[in-house]
């Protein structure tokens, strides 16, 4: 589903290389985790894949569902099913959560040539998912993420993910800011989305999240590239031994 080959990306007009020949292949139906020390390039990878400004790709390629991902605008990537759960979700003042999400959902449907989802269908779906994630209905009326706690924002990311039903899910430090109960609720939501047509890339510092969302593969990202890979048990070994063995 996602084939990253020798990806190299810089910031500050080439002054700093963050990704340095990164290669990674995530087939449909699999969940991959990326772990690594601070500053390894984990968040940069999520931003380059979703098309944020400020990163220059100087080498390599990314193929997503047979398309050249790097040639697509951020909204085109989203419409093609790519979703990023942000490490720090943005506050959108003045735009109620439901308005925001309905605009996003219908913009995606329009780009795909589908009819907009009707208001009753949208509301029904939103209520069901909010209830599963234990999100209070009045939060959905408030401007998106404005005044929400860190944990509420993370839960709202998962809410949006479940509403939009993306194909390729990237989760950047989704566990940070969540207590154990919230983590379980979020993990249940994510696990419900696992399926043969969907792939996930989970970026995390800690192994904790991977107890709840068990990955098929675990990779270590250090100095801008994948330096080691293994199965789910590999994450436990990393947690015990640290990343020192992999850092330059």
């Amino acid at each position: 589903m996602l084939k990253i080959n020798n990806l190299t990306a810089t910031v500050n007009d080439g002054a700093q290389t963050i990704l340095n020949g990164l290669s990674l292949h995530i087939p449909a139906g699999e969940v991959h985790a990326i772990m690594g020390p601070n500053g390894a390039g984990k968040s940069t990878l999520s931003y380059v894949l979703t098309g944020k400004d400020g990163y220059d790709v100087t080498d390599g390629s990314v193929e997503y569902l047979g398309q050249d991902l790097l040639a697509m605008q951020p909204e085109e990537r989203a419409t093609a099913g790519m979703f990023l759960s942000f490490q720090y979700p943005l506050e959108i003042p003045g735009v109620p959560t439901m308005t925001f999400l309905r605009t996003a959902l219908n913009a995606q449907r329009k780009s795909r040539g589908d009819k907009p989802m009707s208001a009753p269908d949208f509301l029904k779906k939103a209520r069901e998912i909010a209830s599963d994630l234990k999100i209070k209905p009045d939060m959905l009326k408030r401007p998106l993420n404005v005044g929400f706690s860190g944990g509420e924002k993370k839960r709202m990311e998962i809410f949006q993910m479940m509403m939009l039903e993306p194909k390729m899910i990237i989760m950047d430090e989704t566990d940070s800011g969540l207590d154990v109960d919230a983590l379980r609720i979020v993990a249940d939501g994510v696990n419900a989305l696992r399926g043969p047509e969907r792939a996930m890339l989970i970026i995390t510092h800690y192994q904790r999240l991977l107890d709840y969302i068990v990955p098929d593969r675990v990779h270590v990202l250090a100095d801008g590239k994948i330096v080691a890979s293994g199965d789910a048990d590999f994450a436990k070994k990393l947690e015990a031994e640290g990343y020192d063995a992999y850092a330059a």
Partner: protein, 353 residues
């Protein structure tokens, strides 16, 4: 030319018969009528406003002394009979007074709310061709009366419009004013409000959205004379191309105006590198037990928020429009029904972003 000599009148000034406000006058430094007024036709026209009033409202014409302002004097020179609209005491109606046809010439309108009256006034200030409009309005709000004023403004790009309002409010009087402006070649909406009695409540909000070379100036001067006034003012600006927005706001809290609670805000969103915003918030306070605040910001749209919205599949132009609309909407939160304003704003944004 000698430093203090009077400069020769411009062609427009000669036709009008006196000097126009210009940039060397502190209150007009960003709205230079003398330099900008290019029209030679229609400068002495008398405007015939279209006024529709609900039952029970009396409309007459009276001779009223001229306002002491430069533009007020011009209005009185050409319009001797002022239109006077008055309500009986404790008047109430679901229907507003509608004033339109303010597209050309000088006009004078006085609106009097008697004791306990509640009145809505909806004004439309529009012109389809290059015009000159000088409108002088006065509102007298008696004890316990409530005025709701809604102003919509959209002029031709070469129109010059000066609209001044003097508003006098007595004890327990209230005014709620909302204005939406899409600008003109040169335009100024000036509100001079005096809260003469106690417990006066003022909400005076507005937004301007300007493109091309449009100019709007929202100037207000609020005098608080007596105790316990509550003032809320919030103005939002969206400017692009080579447009220019001007905000001047002043609260003058007199010695007797204890327990005044006043807030003034002006925030502008600049969407191009060539647009211009000028802002001058002022507080002058002589009473010692008051709460007065003012805030002023100028900035661009939040790029991180834009990326977040695009990551969810919202096209860049739509994301910009949604963020901008949410920003402007804050000025109209306190309106009973802001649907018409919000529709006009979203149409404007759709065509330009």
């Amino acid at each position: 030319m000698q430093p203090n000599s009077t400069p020769a009148l411009t062609e427009a000034e000669t036709i009008l018969g006196g000097a126009l406000p210009h940039r060397r006058m502190e209150a007009w430094k960003w709205t230079d009528v003398r330099a900008s007024l290019r029209q030679k036709q229609g400068l002495t026209n008398i405007c015939t406003p279209e006024i529709s009033v609900p039952e029970g409202i009396i409309v007459s014409r009276e001779t009223i002394p001229a306002e002491s302002t430069v533009m007020g004097a011009f209005a009185a020179r050409f319009v001797t009979d002022c239109i006077v609209i008055s309500t009986p005491e404790n008047y109430k109606s679901d229907q507003p007074i509608r004033i339109s046809g303010l597209g050309n010439g000088h006009a004078r309108i006085l609106i009097k709310l008697a004791k306990g009256a509640e009145l809505s006034v909806v004004e439309t200030h529009e012109s389809d061709t290059a015009s000159f409009i000088n409108l002088d309005m006065q509102f007298d709000i008696s004890e316990g009366a409530k005025l709701t004023r809604t102003i919509f403004h959209a002029d031709h790009t070469d129109t010059t419009r000066i609209a001044s309002s003097r508003i006098n409010v007595q004890t327990d009087g209230e005014i709620t004013q909302h204005m939406l402006s899409f600008g003109a070649g040169l335009s100024r909406f000036e509100t001079r409000l005096t809260a003469q009695g106690k417990n006066v409540k003022v909400d005076i909000h507005g937004a301007y959205l300007l493109d091309e070379k449009r100019h709007v100036d929202m100037t207000s001067h609020i005098d608080l004379i007596d105790e316990n006034a509550q003032i809320r003012q919030s103005v939002k600006g969206v400017i692009t191309d080579k447009a220019r927005g001007v905000f001047q706001g002043k609260f003058h809290v007199h010695r007797r105006a204890q327990f005044t609670d006043a807030e003034m805000r002006h925030d502008a969103l600049m969407l191009s590198d060539t647009c211009e915003v000028r802002a001058k918030p002022e507080l002058e306070i002589y009473a010692d037990d008051v709460a007065c605040a003012h805030g002023n910001t100028v900035g661009a749209l939040d790029e991180s928020a834009l990326f977040y919205m695009r990551q969810r599949g919202i096209p860049a132009s739509q994301a910009r429009a949604l963020l901008t609309q949410a920003f402007v909407a804050q000025a109209f939160e306190s309106m009973a029904d802001n649907t018409e304003f919000m529709t006009r704003i979203s149409n404007w944004l759709e065509q330009r972003l």
